[in-house]
Symmetry: C2
């Protein structure tokens, strides 16, 4: 195989959000799949806040080593497979790399579910990790019930936009927190959120106290940082906080949660990462497909064309007020779709 | 009835730990029980960190108003009763006041359980709120299991000393955090804790990492403040933090918990106050009585004589390194026992 391959190589650890200095697009060798691996042609790259964490420290996976082609979730087509159950031509979603071609193993790799006429990118904007996180987080972890008030931050993002809609389907009153008037309008007018709060121009705690004087039953936290404590001060008795993301922590390190109101209101704070719940993905995908087919659940992908634009797009995730909504994806090669 | 009555009147809200300026022992009127109330002769006052919170802000009860005789948990004997089910002469434990005589209603009032030959103060040092909090916290909230590592702060206190012993009975490895070498020695040599750490002279996080390299499964938090974050950084995957007390917060207001490790390790943080679990008190008292009878569970009361010494004793609770161990009680009138 003599095809060319390019990849984003992690040449230094990023300082702040200067990803351009740390990651360089290089011509790299075509990887050779070993036993239990496959070579995958990338179609879409999923850009996720978690990618930044992987560069900065050991998380639920080891820290990305310098010299590695940056790790990421990839939707692609199998070129060659040494992995039982997968064959050339299969469409797969899994843990790969920001490159034209990458290797995937069995861990966190799935064949695409039946997309039922939805566009290919729905495998990342509706199903898979974003939809799975939203579904399991709302249904299994928060156990959202009809009549409860659910607040979600990062509400215009890939997980948040689905969280709010799934909570509406469960019968909750839903309030989204986002970073621009355009995002807030999208949440209420397109996605059916009851209210939206622009955290960049409004006092979130004051608005929450006005909107839900009995308190917030569930806070689905996609961002961490100072917003978490502001919302935690508005919880109802025996409320639940689902910790799902912490992208705001990069700019606000250190302790952020005052435990006084947590104790007094007997609140539960639960760290949640989908990797503990992969056994629920089939149920999640089935429900998501039903809701999408009946028009109850909308999904949106914000698609950037070209592998060469990956890092500039990635930076948007950490730019307050950036215009992207829904799932941020890189279409690696339109000709390959 | 022409008996004299004295009570600690809250004349101003305390600044820091200057309780002496805020609370004054005064001759007060003998209260007259209304419908559903009884007049109780105080035998022992239970001194609890929660009393300070009640003075400073609304909690799960309203803030103590200025001019009130300070509220507190009291073990006493009924003098006159307008409360069905209670009669003069009954020994009761409940929500009363720091006074020779106080009123009690039905809320949070219990007749004493069968003390089985234990001294009267066991109703507060072993049974009741301290023992109930320890039992429900370890068994129902933390769900401590054999083989797990449980760390408890305020370990030489009324709740903490029982928490550690109950966790040992469940088969846990138990590490207590306390504020003097004497307290640490008591925990390991008398109560059977596996280890004790003096937070005033040792690096708690470093010791925990050495003692339990696989991490802390359960942190039973009786104090809040900076210690909470130090221990939270040592949690095992899917560990649990039971928030039960926050006395250290008075000296350390503001956010204390970094949610990064909570998310990454999928830790659960649970606010816990016994008032939600009074239906479990009978089961708690039965288990506590059995364990005490078989010698598996020790309880200790640190008894200060004289209503006039109440406030000086109360201050000990907030004095790091103060000598009291176990349950801090005021014996109001030895002649009345």
């Amino acid at each position: 195989m003599n095809k060319a391959n390019r990849g984003w190589v992690l040449e230094s650890y990023p300082v702040g959000t200067d990803f351009e200095s740390a990651l360089k697009l290089r011509d790299i060798a075509m990887p050779e799949p070993g036993p239990g691996q496959m070579l995958v042609r990338s179609l879409y790259l999923s850009l996720d806040p978690a990618n930044r964490g992987w560069m900065m420290m050991p998380t639920y996976i080891p820290q990305v080593p310098l010299g590695a082609t940056m790790w990421g979730f990839v939707l692609g087509r199998v070129e060659r497979s040494n992995l039982p159950g997968f064959a050339a031509g299969d469409l797969v979603s899994g843990f790969g790399a920001w490159a034209d071609y990458c290797l995937m193993g069995a861990d966190m790799t799935n064949k695409l579910p039946d997309l039922g006429g939805l566009p290919l990118y729905a495998a990342q904007s509706l199903f898979g990790l974003s939809g799975g996180t939203a579904y399991v987080g709302v249904v299994d972890i928060a156990k959202a019930k009809a009549g409860e008030v659910l607040v979600v931050s990062g509400a215009a993002g890939s997980v948040g936009s689905l969280v709010g809609q799934i909570a509406k389907i469960q019968g909750c009153t839903v309030i989204g927190i986002a970073g621009s008037p355009e995002k807030c309008t999208w949440l209420t007018d397109e996605l059916g959120f009851d209210h939206a709060i622009d955290y960049r121009s409004e006092d979130v705690a004051a608005r929450l106290k006005a909107l839900c004087p009995k308190g917030v039953d569930i806070y689905f936290d996609n961002v961490g940082g100072p917003l978490t404590n502001a919302i935690a001060s508005c919880m109802a008795l025996r409320g639940r906080i689902v910790l799902c993301g912490s992208m705001a922590k990069f700019a606000n390190p250190g302790p952020e949660l005052d435990l006084g109101p947590i104790l007094l209101n007997r609140v539960t704070v639960q760290g949640f990462i989908l990797i503990d719940h992969f056994d629920r993905l089939d149920a999640a995908n089935a429900a998501l497909a039903d809701w999408a087919a009946s028009g109850k659940l909308k999904h949106k992908a914000d698609i950037v064309d070209g592998l060469e634009n990956t890092v500039a797009a990635f930076r948007m995730l950490f730019t307050p007020g950036a215009p992207h909504m829904g799932k941020l994806l890189v279409r690696v090669d339109p000709a390959a779709l």
